[in-house]
């Protein structure tokens, strides 16, 4: 770092980029970054560029994301995201936890859509166990994951609105999200990080009266979504700030590893729920939302309409969910009902073994991918026959989506960079793990 000398008469502000891995490489040609020294004298030349550091703490609520930008006036020449501020070694922790405990760890990675994380992890474990789930378990999972998609996209609407200045959008988005979290609380017991989808099924059956709660939620959220549409979609200020901003082409998106709404905004209608169906998605009707222009406005619209599509799926779940077991009855994998523990020695032993040592997964490796609200989330799991994984890796969509900044931010204005990062909808918990 530079040495800063503060002289009593003059205040000196120095900015340097000498930070090792976070250093921006020097541009070719005329433009160069220089130290900004603010003294009493005249301003530096207008054609010099400036390195600006945004984050890791800033009001645009996308977690601890730091972006180093080189600016020429208002225009961004280069932008480099610096991540790692939320790294807590969750993958290393995953190697120390049993498979029974694994969902509690994985759920905290993408904390806006925790049930997606739990689902992909449980599916990977079940794949290695060659376990088949009863149909009610898959439908309950689908219901929960779609409710989670609704709450995650509502979070996006709220934060995206506020980032672009529609501050009341923040409150509206949170209000609808509250309804969704309340329903999730009645079903799973927690508002976030539920640890509800576990290898073998789900933790408990749906509570009595859930259908009314869920249908009421659908009506409330639908009304909210129509409100947002009315508030924003034709709003000239909103359109000025989002239409034509951060345009991404399909080739760029594919090359930079973007999936999910970012890829669908470029005109490429790829959704894993449709292309490689899992759970019961090939049994329900829903549309894959995609747009053509690849700008910020498109990504906002996609997520808005995806809320409605998820509500469509949720309504079908309410009507058609089959009766039956909510988890596999294999006592080597799922614990017995608590009442049985008093009656049966075997049940007691199974319970004990499961919660102390956990079940063993035969040696093997697998990669399972599902469509989270942010894109393709995958779980690469390597097992060695013990009760703890050798390697638990989550392919986090935001980690890859962030790289699409490289194609969208340079060339635009600084204020647009905020809009673009917001439209990527990164969740730093899964970027950093």
């Amino acid at each position: 770092m530079s040495d800063r000398v503060t002289e009593p008469e003059q205040v000196r502000l120095e900015a340097q980029t000498d930070e090792g891995a976070q250093e921006l490489r020097p541009l070719e040609g005329e433009a160069r970054s220089r130290e900004l020294v603010l003294t009493g004298g005249p301003w530096p030349d207008a054609d010099d560029t400036m390195i600006l550091n945004m984050g890791p703490q800033h009001p645009s609520t996308h977690g601890v994301l730091r972006i180093m930008m080189e600016l020429d006036g208002e225009t961004v020449l280069r932008a480099k995201p610096v991540v790692g501020y939320l790294h807590t070694g969750m993958e290393k922790t995953g190697e120390e936890l049993t498979y029974v405990q694994g969902a509690t760890n994985v759920t905290r990675m993408d904390y806006a859509a925790p049930l997606s994380n739990e689902l992909v992890y449980s599916m990977a474990v079940e794949r290695l166990l060659d376990l088949e789930l009863p149909p009610r378990a898959t439908w309950i999972r689908m219901l929960l994951v779609e409710l989670n998609r609704v709450s995650s996209h509502l979070l996006f609407q709220a934060t995206n609105g506020m980032d672009l200045g529609a501050v009341s959008m923040m409150i509206y988005g949170w209000r609808e999200r509250e309804f969704a979290l309340r329903v999730l609380e009645t079903i799973t017991g927690l508002r976030m990080n539920h640890n509800f989808i576990r290898p073998g099924g789900v933790a408990a059956d749906l509570p009595d009266g859930w259908q009314e709660d869920v249908l009421e939620l659908c009506d409330l959220v639908e009304r909210g979504v129509n409100e947002y549409n009315e508030l924003l979609s034709d709003n000239p200020i909103w359109r000025e700030r989002t239409v034509g901003i951060g345009v991404l082409t399909t080739d760029e998106a594919l090359a930079l590893g973007a999936t999910g709404p970012i890829l669908r905004s470029t005109g490429f209608a790829w959704d894993l729920r449709r292309a490689q169906p899992y759970l019961a998605y090939d049994d329900v009707e829903f549309d894959v939302i995609y747009t053509q222009n690849g700008d910020v406005f498109d990504r906002y619209q996609i997520r808005l309409y995806e809320i409605l599509e998820s509500l469509k799926i949720v309504r079908q779940c309410v009507e058609r969910i089959p009766p039956g077991d909510y988890r596999v009855q294999d006592r080597k994998v799922t614990p017995p009902p608590r009442a049985r523990i008093d009656e049966s020695m075997e049940a007691l032993i199974h319970h004990f073994k499961l919660f102390t040592e956990g079940f063993h997964v035969p040696a093997g490796e697998t990669y399972v991918a599902i469509e989270s609200p942010r894109g393709e989330i995958g779980c690469y799991l390597v097992a060695d026959g013990t009760s703890k994984p050798v390697r638990l890796h989550i392919r986090a969509p935001s980690f890859y989506n962030l790289q699409s900044m490289d194609a969208m931010v340079p060339g635009g204005m600084f204020a647009d960079a905020v809009a673009i990062v917001s439209s990527i909808d990164p969740i730093m918990g899964e970027v950093d793990r």
Binding site: E19, G20, A21, Q22, R25, V83, G84, H87, G89, E91, K92, R127, L128, D130, L254, A255, L256, G257, A258, T259, F268, W270, A275, Q276, P362, A363, G364, E365, T366, Y367, A369, E376, G378, Y380, V382, D384, G385, T386, V390, R391, H393, R395, F399, Y400, L402, Q403, D432, R433
Partner: protein
């Protein structure tokens, strides 16, 4: 490392069967790159290649087999495995670099695994073929210490710049103070 390579085990994947008839991609890889091994891992196609072929196989998949994206690149440290499922024909090493490819037009996935020895932890970078792997290779370098030769910006990404060690290695213990017990003072 466990002597998993020495005796055949029942729980290891089937010894190198030919790829299933509908997996022409794996068949093409095996045909084009001698020494590669195919395994069907719980319904998924996995091909093991050598480090020397890593980049060529990737280019082949991208250019001729239309694998549009490499959705994930990661590594595994097999230092303390109790059992290890490695197909015969593959010499197991301490590290494995694993890449998952996805072809959108063909709607299929392929996993490619390459063994990396502990003494020479480096692999050729494929981040110029698939720009999405720029971050992923940095993460593997950061957490495992596997160097990706040819990566234009290899540097730590998740850990602080001045961190020493590679956390996801099995012998990189987090800073743990061993618990010491004083003599039991006896019943109170």
């Amino acid at each position: 490392m466990a002597d998993s390579a020495d005796e055949p085990r029942e729980d290891v994947h089937e010894p190198g069967p030919p790829p299933p008839p509908d997996d022409e991609v794996a068949a093409a890889v095996l045909a084009g790159f001698p020494g590669a091994c195919f395994v069907d891992s719980h319904g998924q196609s996995v091909v093991y290649v050598g480090r020397a072929q890593w980049r060529d196989v990737t280019a082949f998949l991208r250019d001729e087999q239309r694998f549009t994206q490499c959705v994930d690149l990661t590594a595994v440290d097999h230092l303390v495995d109790v059992e290890r499922a490695v197909p015969p024909g593959v010499a197991p090493e301490r590290y494995e670099v694993v890449a998952n490819f996805l072809s959108y037009p063909r709607n299929r996935r392929l996993r490619v695994i390459c063994e990396v020895p502990a003494g020479e932890p480096e692999v050729t970078s494929i981040a110029d073929l698939y720009p999405s792997l720029a971050f992923a290779e940095r993460e593997v370098y950061d957490l495992f210490g596997i160097d990706f030769t040819g990566h234009r910006d290899i540097a730590r990404i998740l850990m602080p710049d001045d961190w020493i060690g590679h956390p996801l290695r099995k012998d990189d213990a987090p800073a743990r103070v061993p618990v010491t017990f004083k003599e039991d003072p006896g019943p109170r």
